[in-house]
């Protein structure tokens, strides 16, 4: 919300630097996001969160001046020559301002026009440029007439974007020669108002906060109303009926007659524009002005339209829910079909406005309006919010305020204030007292605050009289009984709760105004909770560390994906997705079911820039429960997975590696071997597998403790093509992480370092091609017993001399005893046993035989 300093000063006498005001408000929870200095000098000090901008006006070069005469330009129809008096001498000023054309060639004006005048050399914004470009006024000839100074528009002075004409002040403006900054110099605070501070969505609210923060009394605007004693021609007042008092607790209406629609005074237009609103005419401007001032949105109906529609002397206005399919055309020209929950203001002929949000175009105030019915009502904030969202009326200032809460108590006061202003600035008459229908009266809320509660929550003792004076400054009323304060919230405070919540609400107010900076810091002295272990998290982090140690880069990808992208994997396991009801883009429309798909996408994006890609991610996938039993919530399972992707060269280009192979199956196998070893998982099996995402024959499945952990191997060429990987094979692994974390032991024991020497020997076996390494090793380990401490495959050979359906596997065996030095005889015995078992179980033969 934008608040001009000059407006605040209507209610509070302060002489603080705008920076200091911004700091005070910001620390009290009213974050001043920016200050726009209008003419005023900006001190250079460093400040808060607030950004500072604006144009400083030179005191001597930018002044108030009088235009005394307007003449035509001899060579240009679209320009005029203004005779302008600056307090000392007269200048001829060229201008194309359309609002001067009405005075052209009328001789000396009966009353001079008060304008903003910039001398030669003054710095201004370029009025013809769309942004804010600083320029300096220079002497030049325009169509044969010399020009060296100008009468300014608001845009040129940095007040607003208005550049339709030059500023023409009200006649009360000070005498010619007065520095302009002394007249309308200002600072506009842009304040972010949090939802709990809806009471401060108005200038009076901000003034009240500032008053409490600076211990300065405030003077709220007067709300008296002048009613004409006897008026012959007075119209009859309407009848007001409220159907849904829960949705419309109060409705006030004032009739102002015989008004004159015209522009509002310049000072009001200026304040509206500085506050971000567009002036329209005096009646509309006053409703907006009072809304900005007091926080109550108002609506003006053309009363003659209502009378014409009703066909009776006294129109009947009802607030009610719509009939089925009822429509309204609102002020913004949109035909709207109303939801059944939207509260309407209507007469016998139909809808007049969407209650509290926007009027209908049929009864809008126009240039011909004579009589105005001014509404100030109170509405249920939740109901208004629903309508605002449903009708997409978020831009409505009235809807914004009512949907955050406006106290019903303010309705009548604001109505008086606005009606009185319309009477004054529209030359109208008020003949009848304001109608006030108030079926649901506001009930004051009193909170019992034990002073000890302040110490319990804040940790400090604030003296009782300080607490009381803070609350009084915020318009609370307080009654002290020993150590208890009975605190009654002012009528504008809808945010104060009851019981413990009310207590917390009051303490917050005290702390906020007392100042968080004045509350000291302490260490927690409360009991330390019992500590618990967190093994699942520790194991996950351990797996991350292991993979990093193996040379892999961790990635973290979007968990919101699209089914189309995941289908690139050709995974047959296509289950249902968690669909987003409001996706931001079609590529991010569901919660992912595949982690591998995300990591492959990431590898693909990097492949253009990298020779070697080695990535992993640990993260969840989201699996909706297919059929939940009655008692179960329908939240999906979030299951942690691990995916690895390798692609490209094994080592990066280097002088030291002249040949650089592509990675293959055994690179990913090596990572998985080492991961399992480092995780101390020994009970697992790797078997040849089958998976649509992988190359047939080059894919393995991993089972840990008998549970399927997932697959790894060479990515299927079709899948690789989908991801547009180049000629390198891409290796991938996709695992259920919980099978790893479940199998990782909390404790493990280590083997003693051998005390006796080992005997090492190599054996080469010839086996059938289809026999795999795992089977051979298994057989060797089984027959070798405890003395066989290591088996290592070190050569594979295929060749005609051993037969085309055979292969030779060479193993290095280590024999070692924990209790004695083995003899050659011991070794020979073991070897015989192993070879016999291999022959018997696998038909293997020693190659040397």
């Amino acid at each position: 919300m934008k608040v001009p300093l000059s407006w605040l000063k209507d209610y509070i006498e302060i002489d603080l630097d705008p920076h200091e005001i911004a700091r005070l408000l910001t620390f009290a929870g009213l974050e001043v996001e920016s200050i726009n200095f209008i003419g005023l000098p900006q001190s250079n000090q460093r400040q808060n969160q607030t950004s500072i901008y604006g144009l400083e006006w030179d005191r001597n070069d930018i002044i108030v001046a009088d235009i005394t005469k307007v003449e035509h330009h001899p060579n240009a129809d679209r320009l005029v020559l203004a005779q302008l008096y600056d307090g000392e001498q007269t200048h001829t000023v060229l201008t194309g301002a359309p609002n001067l054309f009405q005075y052209k060639d009328q001789g000396k004006l009966p009353q001079p026009l008060k304008v903003a005048y910039a001398r030669e050399g003054a710095h201004l914004y370029d009025g013809h440029n769309s942004g804010q470009e600083l320029i300096r006024i220079k002497r030049k000839k325009i169509r044969g007439i010399e020009s060296y100074s100008m009468a300014c528009s608001e845009k040129e002075l940095g007040i607003s974007d208005e550049h339709e004409g030059i500023i023409v002040f009200d006649s009360e403006a000070p005498i010619a020669g007065t520095p302009l900054v002394d007249y309308i110099g200002d600072a506009v605070f842009d304040i972010a108002i949090t939802p709990n501070m809806a009471r401060n969505l108005n200038v009076v609210g901000i003034a009240r906060e500032l008053g409490a923060l600076t211990k300065t009394p405030i003077h709220p605007p007067k709300t008296n109303i002048t009613i004409a004693k006897s008026m012959q021609s007075a119209l009859e007042m309407p009848k007001i009926e409220i159907d849904e008092s829960e949705l419309n607790p109060r409705f006030t209406a004032t009739l102002i007659e015989d008004i004159q629609i015209k522009p509002s005074p310049y000072w009001m237009q200026l304040r509206l524009r500085m506050s971000g609103m567009r002036p329209i005419n005096n009646v509309v401007d006053i409703t907006n002005y009072v809304m900005l001032e007091m926080g109550q949105p108002l609506h003006a109906f053309d009363y003659d339209v209502l009378r014409a529609r009703s066909k009776t002397k006294a129109p009947v206005i009802t607030t009610r829910l719509p009939n089925s399919g009822e429509k309204i055309m609102t002020l913004d020209g949109i035909h709207r079909t109303l939801d059944n929950f939207t509260i309407l203001v209507a007469d016998n002929a139909g809808a007049l406005s969407i209650g509290g949000i926007m009027g209908g175009s049929n009864s809008e105030v126009s240039d011909n309006t004579k009589n105005v019915l001014l509404e100030a009502a109170s509405w249920d904030l939740i109901n208004i919010r629903q309508t605002v969202i449903s009708q997409q009326l978020q831009s409505s200032q009235a809807g914004y305020r009512f949907s955050r809460g406006v106290s019903p108590e303010i309705a009548a006061r604001s109505n008086y204030r606005a009606a009185e202003m319309i009477r004054l600035f529209g030359n109208g008459t008020i003949a009848h007292a304001t109608i006030d229908k108030y079926p649901r009266h506001y009930v004051p809320n009193t909170v019992k605050l034990r002073l000890s509660e302040i110490q319990r929550s804040l940790g400090i003792d604030i003296p009782a009289d300080e607490v009381i004076s803070i609350l009084l400054a915020l318009d609370f009323s307080v009654e002290k009984q020993q150590n208890v304060l009975h605190v009654t919230a002012p009528d504008h405070r809808l945010d104060i709760g009851v019981d413990e919540i009310g207590t917390a609400d009051i303490i917050e107010e005290v702390a906020r105004i007392w100042g968080f900076e004045n509350i000291p810091e302490t260490q927690i002295s409360d009991l330390m909770p019992r500590q618990k272990n967190n093994t699942l998290l520790e194991k996950e982090e351990r797996i991350r560390d292991i993979l990093v140690n193996l040379g892999l880069q961790e990635v973290i990808t979007y968990r919101i994906a699209s089914p189309e992208n995941e289908q690139l994997l050709h995974d047959s396991e296509n289950g249902p997705y968690v669909h987003l009801a409001n996706p931001i883009t079609p590529e991010r429309s569901v919660m992912r079911r595949s982690l591998l798909s995300s990591v492959l996408e990431c590898a693909r994006n990097n492949s253009r820039f990298q020779q070697r890609i080695a990535l992993f991610e640990v993260g969840p996938v989201y699996l909706p429960l297919l059929s939940s039993s009655e008692n179960q919530s329908n939240l999906p399972t979030e299951s942690q997975r691990l995916s690895v992707v390798l692609s490209g060269k094994r080592v990066s280009l280097s002088w030291a590696n002249n040949q650089s192979d592509s990675m293959d199956y055994f690179d990913i196998k090596g990572i998985i071997d080492e991961l399992l070893r480092a995780a101390h998982i020994s009970d697992y099996t790797v078997e040849s597998g089958n998976h649509p995402s992988f190359q047939p024959g080059a894919v393995a499945t991993l089972a840990i403790h008998g549970s399927q952990a997932g697959s790894f191997g060479v990515l299927h060429p079709d899948v690789a093509l989908n991801y547009d990987f180049g000629e390198h094979p891409t290796l991938a692994a996709d695992f259920d992480l919980t099978t790893f974390t479940n199998a990782m032991p909390n404790h493990y024991t280590i083997n003693p370092i051998p005390r006796f020497p080992a005997i090492i020997e190599d054996i080469a076996l010839i086996v059938d091609n289809q026999i795999n390494n795992a089977e051979v090793v298994k057989s060797i380990i089984k027959s070798g017993g405890a003395t066989l401490t290591n088996v290592q495959l070190f050569d594979i050979f295929r060749g005609e001399q051993i037969g085309t359906d055979k292969k030779s596997l060479a193993y290095r065996l280590t024999y070692q005893s924990e209790v004695k030095t083995l003899t050659d005889k011991d070794a020979a015995k073991l070897r015989t046993k192993i070879v016999k078992a291999l022959q018997k179980e696998l038909g293997a033969q020693l190659r040397s035989e």
Binding site: R544, L580, E638
Partner: protein, 341 residues
């Protein structure tokens, strides 16, 4: 006799100079200092010398032996260092060539930052408590004092799922309720890390998913002064011992009073720079005393228990610390970005 001993010495020393390697040196030794050498023999056969000359000659022969032995030692170490020995050979290496490259792995910068946050809070007695990402409206909003249709809901742009009432959590705050319901009425000190989601356009400054770390302390004597002290301690651990903090009033529906904590800009030490937008301060986290309604919903009687809560964004902290100007880099996973950490 003495002369012949001197001759032996002269010859021996001169021949020693001619030895050129270990082999000739060993040969020299056996000629001049072994048991069969003339010198040692003469020492052994002192009985042949007249008794009165024995001490003189014996001493002289012994001195010569010591001289020769010393000369032998010197020659040995000289030859060891000579050009022929491998240790003396010059190898023409370009020592500036890059070393053999290793494939170093790294944790994602978000994980690195999270772990740093975990460590600091662990030292202060806050344990990690994780909870689910897809949540009910009730847990994400209602139990946190944000009723349906309440204007405070405007503070969170929410991703809804096709199941009514099921949403992507907009903050880790539902974890507060989970932790409270699991622990009531025992005291709590936890941090709640994890991924959160907001319905926003993806830009340099806003993301649809981001990590958050919330913290929660509940007990019978937890006060706003403790909140200030604890969070300032965290800031000093995270950003440097001399880091100053300040607290501004703010609003979160689940805390009251609520505050924003700023730290003095660690890039410019408070002087004002581009990153802190010339303010000298950086907004780091939101915090406050747990709202009584939230305590009640978590199973703690607000008359007896108090607590504080806070929340911070690890990605924002990393952006400030490393000068990352675009939040999209985090989930973009460009290795040219990730490999810089």
């Amino acid at each position: 006799m003495l002369e012949s001993l001197d001759t032996i010495k002269t010859i021996a020393l001169s021949e020693l100079q001619k030895t050129s390697d270990m082999k000739t040196l060993r040969l020299w030794y056996s000629t001049h200092l072994s048991k069969s050498s003339q010198l040692i023999k003469s020492l052994r056969n002192l009985s042949n010398v007249a008794a009165k000359d024995r001490p003189t000659i014996g001493k002289h022969a012994n001195d010569i032996r010591k001289i020769l032995e010393q000369a032998y030692e010197d020659r040995t170490s000289y030859l060891n260092k000579s050009v022929e020995s491998p240790g003396h050979k010059h190898i023409a290496l370009d020592v500036t060539l890059p070393g053999r490259s290793l494939n170093r792995g790294r944790l994602h910068i978000a994980t690195q930052t999270l772990r740093r946050i975990y460590t600091i809070w662990a030292d202060m007695g806050f344990q990690i408590y994780r909870s689910r990402e897809i949540e009910t409206d009730e847990l994400n909003f209602e139990l946190l004092n944000i009723p349906l249709h309440h204007p405070a809901r405007d503070m969170w742009d929410t991703f809804h799922t096709n199941s009514p009432g099921v949403i992507l959590r907009t903050h880790t705050s539902p974890g507060q309720i989970h932790a409270m319901q699991a622990n009531a009425p025992d005291p709590i000190r936890v941090i709640l890390p994890g991924m959160c989601y907001r319905y926003e356009q993806i830009t340099a400054r806003s993301e649809i998913q981001f990590n958050q770390v919330e913290g929660l302390a509940i007990g019978t004597n937890i006060r706003f002064t403790d909140l200030k002290g604890t969070l300032s301690d965290f800031a000093r651990r995270m950003f440097g011992t001399s880091t100053r903090t300040r607290f501004r009033a703010s609003h979160f529906p689940f805390t009251e009073p609520s505050a924003e904590m700023d730290i003095e800009c660690f890039l410019c030490s408070g002087e004002g720079c581009r990153v802190c937008k010339k303010t000298g301060w950086l907004e780091i986290l939101g915090c406050g005393m747990v709202h009584p309604a939230v305590l009640t919903n978590g199973g703690y009687e607000p008359k007896k228990y108090t607590g504080f809560a806070f929340g911070m964004g690890p990605e924002r902290i990393a952006m400030l610390k490393y000068g990352i100007d675009d939040i999209r880099h985090f989930w973009g996973n460009d290795l040219r970005f990730l490999e810089q950490f």
